[in-house]
């Protein structure tokens, strides 16, 4: 599951990746014609809308890709960098950049491209941007109020509008396609001739149909998480599923035996968990199973993952979710923690013992009743560190 940094690709290797990505970025920008200020500002005077075409096509392609990746559980969207929203700062900064755009003819990325192929005006623009950043840094106390005002956090536009991501993606695609058609018309009016660089029928309809298919699949195929969460409410499915179980006695035995391979996932509320918890256990929620960190914990090699809750049903639901996500090395505690309490912690030696096997079990339980509470007491203050990946810090 993405992002691949920092687990699969280390932070150091990431710098090499950065250079490679940069090379592709620079190559595409230059090939698209972003290395000439005349083409760039054409957008604002109606004679060349290349920038708009490239920019919105790129934005929408990436956006739909991100939504699709998140949709099918390939990318953990809670870990990627969502540019934070500081409302006033974003607005004022954007306006200043817009002014800089029509005065200077470039934006920072394109100026670097243009400078690389020898445009002197672009080199001067780059020098200017250093001065601009320096002025801001020196005058920071002056800007600080504006810079930090109205902090809305890492909020996305669909959270603000309250729509689903897919609806928004379709909406934005429609808007972009509308803009493409409109600007083509404007361009023809201004320049007086159709833009032959853009054979509209071939590429344009291809692009639109691909986007339509994407949009439709996003509508038709529900988010994986929703599908799975729906399944756990289906009683017949819950009951027909084959679970591997672990009995109270075996769990108690393994804990007493100090078997480090046992990893208990406790699906009770945090409150219950903090009151009493078994050794070698972490508190988990259904939601956490879907995250990259949750997946990693379940994937520990050779571990025996034990799911428990007060009752068996909750553990079954969790196990079903895990199985849907591809984790099959899970055993649920038979009868839940309630059964464990009756069997071990509050064990009362019955008067009648029928078989030899029962006698053995009861002898074990009598012993376990002494040891397990000690282990619980011992582990009370040890906090199993649950690894929590932080959101990646990016931005400019």
């Amino acid at each position: 599951m993405g992002p691949l940094v920092p687990d699969i690709i280390s932070n150091e290797l990431n710098f090499v990746v950065a250079i490679l990505i940069g090379i592709a970025f620079g190559y595409i920008l230059e090939q698209a014609g972003f290395s000439t200020s005349k083409k760039l500002v054409g957008l604002f005077y109606g004679y060349d809308f290349t920038v708009l075409r490239v920019f919105f096509t790129a934005g929408i392609t990436a956006m739909i890709g991100v939504i699709a990746f998140a949709h099918f559980g390939i990318l953990d969207i809670s870990l990627i960098y969502i540019n934070p929203t500081f409302l006033y700062s974003a607005l004022v900064g954007g306006l200043i950049m817009g002014l800089g755009f029509v005065v200077g003819g470039f934006c920072p990325g394109t100026s670097v491209c243009a400078a690389a192929i020898g445009k002197i005006d672009a080199m001067i623009f780059v020098a200017g941007s250093f001065i601009g950043v320096w002025i801001f840094a020196e005058a920071y106390p002056l800007f600080e109020g504006l810079y930090l005002a109205e902090n809305w956090g890492n909020i996305t536009i669909f959270e603000i509008l309250g729509t689903s991501q897919s609806v928004l993606a379709v909406l934005m695609t429609t808007m972009a396609v509308g803009a493409f058609i409109f600007t083509r018309w404007v361009e023809q009016k201004v320049t007086g001739k159709p833009n032959e660089d853009v054979p509209i029928a071939k590429y344009f309809y291809g692009f639109v149909s691909v986007m339509m298919i994407f949009g439709l699949t996003a509508f038709l195929l529900p988010v994986k998480k929703d599908v799975v969460m729906q399944k756990i409410n289906d009683e017949t499915l819950i009951n027909s599923f084959q679970y591997n179980t672990i009995t109270s006695d075996e769990l108690a035995f393994r804990l007493i035996d100090n078997d480090k391979r046992v990893q208990i996932f406790d699906f009770r509320t945090a409150e219950d968990f903090n009151q009493i918890k078994l050794p070698q256990s972490v508190n988990m929620t259904f939601d956490e199973l879907f995250t990259k960190d949750g997946g990693r914990m379940l994937n520990m090699k050779n571990n025996v993952n034990v799911f428990l809750a007060n009752d068996e049903l909750t553990a079954k639901k969790a196990a079903l979710i895990a199985s849907e996500l591809g984790h099959n090395n899970i055993r649920i505690l038979k009868g839940g923690l309630n059964q464990f309490k009756t069997d071990i912690i509050n064990f009362e030696n019955p008067q009648i013992i029928a078989t030899r096997q029962e006698a053995n079990t009861f002898r074990f339980r009598t012993k376990a009743k002494e040891v397990i509470p000690v282990l619980i007491e011992k582990s009370k203050n040890t906090i199993v560190v649950k690894r929590e990946s932080k959101r990646i810090v990016g931005g400019c």
Binding site: P3, N14, A18, G22, I23, F25, G26, L29, E30, Q31, A32, T36, Y45, V54, G59, T61, A62, M63, G65, Y81, N83, S89, A90, L91, G94, L95, I96, M97, L99, G100, F101, V102, V103, G104, F106, C107, P108, G109, A116, I117, K119, F125, G128, S129, F130, I131, G132, V133, W134, I135, F136, A137, E144, W152, L168, Y203, F204, V393, G394, G395
Partner: protein, 171 residues
């Protein structure tokens, strides 16, 4: 030799979009440009006037984040790549030459001054916007960041609003 034609903008757009998607998938962050300029400024100031950069909040925050090595930043490496990539592209398409591109209405002197001024404005604005066209607008749009989309609309809206007053520079 003649320059090769520019790439079809829709194809370039799809390629750029896929690159951005791959970037987000691998690194968890988008593309950018102005962040590298910031790294450069912080590096320069902290080398020339270490005391001053330690006293000033904007520099010292950045230095702490980067463990006193401001150039060890993802975007610095990325922008080095951009220079290489754009150069290769210019080479294969015969677009490498030293020119000062300007409208015939303005003198070279005016073009140089406006380029410097425009760069300065963009650099300053990108600090407030927490990223430029690439880092805030494009990458922000890809992850549907509200702030990114606001910045994008402000950049393009602002440019259209001011375009009329600077038309002499271009047409």
């Amino acid at each position: 030799m003649e320059q090769t034609k520019y790439m079809n903008p829709y194809i370039a757009g799809v390629l750029l979009g896929l690159l951005l998607l791959v970037t987000i998938f691998i690194t968890g962050r988008g593309l950018g440009a102005s962040g590298a300029v910031k790294s450069g400024v912080v590096a320069a100031v902290s080398t020339i006037a270490p005391q001053h950069s330690a006293d000033s909040k904007y520099y010292s925050d950045y230095l702490t984040e980067h463990e006193n090595n401001p150039l060890k930043n993802w975007l610095v490496f990325e922008v080095i790549g951009v220079i290489i990539g754009a150069f290769i592209s210019g080479l294969v398409s015969n677009r490498l030459n030293f020119t000062l591109e300007k409208s015939k209405n303005v003198t070279s002197r005016v073009r140089m001054i406006t380029a410097l001024l425009g760069g300065a404005l963009f650099g300053l604005g990108a600090q407030l916007g927490r990223g430029c066209t690439s880092g805030s607008a494009l990458s922000g749009m890809a992850v549907l960041s509200f702030g990114g989309i606001i910045t994008m609309m402000a950049i393009f809206g602002g440019a259209y609003a001011f375009a009329y007053f600077f038309r002499k520079l271009w047409i």
